[in-house]
Subunit: 135 residues, 2 copies
DNA sequence: ATTGACCTTATAGTAGCTTTATAGTTTAAA
DNA sequence: TTTAAACTATAAAGCTACTATAAGGTCAAT
């Protein structure tokens, strides 16, 4: 199968596939005489794996790490589990930070109703005053 | 005041100040004969405003928009409030997405205890199987 | 005279693609 | 058969918000 078919099958753009190949996440496929890439079922699986990892928010580096574990299937899987644990705590701290941010934004927004002039806008005043606690 | 003093006062790096100037967020200051930038109190306020906006998660484009409102102080402030509302809903949708993600990751993690081989790792199997719903 | 701290510009790197430019190949319609 | 659409290729730039590096000019003190 050629790159366009693979792209459609997995639901990515062709450039993304070339990009993953360039980044070492997808093995370089064979080429036809005209230089066109030829993909196999293993590439479909590999690409789908990458995409599902991306949907889970894993970075390309983390995906690369997972792949290296897959290449050595008789190791204990503690490292895989640890990678996921790290990622989960990463996601959790993002959530916490965003929730604090939301609170701050909502209280800022509450300091203005509409029907004012910019000059007297509670939002702009709130930002300009700067009695904010970081983070 | 020169760029280093401004940087220290507001708590950013000098390159960041030049970057904001280049991006049109901070007005170009006067120069000494030797080419050194000379800043005034207005630059201090302007830079502090930018930084507080950044802490609130506003993009440079959004900050630029806010500045354009400030330049026209007798307009009604509805646009300012609307910008903040948009930003809040943006933040909220990020939170929602991350919470869904966390749930997915936690359930994936629960499908493996340690003490398995990579071959049998519940996490890797869970990703490879691909019975995930997007987003 | 030379060290060190400061300033200048220009350029590249970060993440994960997307977009653009330019060009060659295949396939189908006219 | 010609030609146009659709596909492929590579290389390079663009996106965000900086950060880092390089190579050099300026200034005060030693
Ligand atoms: Zn992660
Ligand atoms: Zn307002
Ligand atoms: Zn926003
Ligand atoms: Zn496991």
């Amino acid at each position: 199968m050629r790159i366009g078919q693979l792209a459609q099958l997995v639901g990515v753009e062709t450039q993304t596939i070339r990009f993953y190949e360039q980044q070492g996440l997808l093995p370089p496929p064979d080429r036809q005489d005209n230089g066109y890439r030829v993909y196999t079922e293993r590439h479909v699986e590999g690409l789908a794996f990458i995409r599902r990892c991306r949907i889970l928010g894993l970075s390309l580096a983390e995906i690369h790490e997972l792949q290296s574990y897959q290449d050595d299937p008789h190791q204990p899987c503690t490292a895989v589990n640890a990678l996921l644990d790290d990622h989960i705590s990463h996601v959790r701290s993002q959530i916490t930070a965003l929730q604090a941010l939301e609170k701050q934004l909502v209280s800022l927004r509450a300091s203005c109703n509409d029907d004012r002039e910019v000059e007297a806008c509670g939002v702009l005043a709130g930002i300009s005053e700067g009695n904010m606690h970081q983070q």
